[in-house]
């Protein structure tokens, strides 16, 4: 294990908004994925989300589908 004794500063030769955005892109994508999983975690029980997204997941989507006997449903 190599320990660092000081912050690892990087010198960017050409400071433009595009190059900064480019350097952050992989991290932003990963944080976006993390955010999507966070949203999925907390909306797991909401019917609109269940019907729109989770019930359509291949193989395991059946977990979010509700199949009552039509006789037992009122109206």
């Amino acid at each position: 294990m190599i320990y660092s004794t000081k912050p690892a500063y990087k010198i960017i030769s050409n400071i433009s908004k595009l190059s900064v955005l480019k350097s952050y892109t992989p991290d932003l994508i990963l944080w976006g994925g993390a955010g999507l999983f966070a949203v999925a975690t907390f909306t797991d029980g909401i019917p609109k989300f269940k019907d729109t997204f989770y019930s359509k997941i291949p193989y395991v989507g059946d977990h979010w589908q509700y199949h009552p006997d039509p006789e037992d449903v009122s109206n």
């Binding site: 990963l30 944080w31 994925g33 993390a34 999983f37 999925a40 975690t41 395991v60 977990h63 006997d69």
Partner: protein, 81 residues
């Protein structure tokens, strides 16, 4: 020695792919939570239904309907009278 090296490389792979970046760590935690809560719910429901087999509505419904002679037909006759 070989097994130790491969073990080390396994943990290194885990470290590099999950723990090194906070974004991948947080994503793994939430992905794990989402998968776990669905699978836990599924497993508990399966256990509960298996444990209470014969007492659930889906199990006793045919017997009750047969005993009541078809259910709704009688009720309709009562309403007409």
């Amino acid at each position: 020695m070989t097994s130790r090296t491969s073990e080390f490389s396994f943990y290194t792979k885990i470290y590099n792919s999950i723990f090194k970046r906070n974004s991948t760590f947080v994503a793994t935690v939430f992905a794990g939570t989402f998968i776990f809560q669905a699978s836990f719910d599924s497993a508990i429901t399966r256990w509960y239904e298996n444990h209470n087999k014969g007492k659930l509505w889906k199990d006793i419904k045919p017997a009750i309907l047969a005993r009541n002679g078809g259910g709704d037909e009688d009720a309709d006759e009562d309403d007409d009278e």
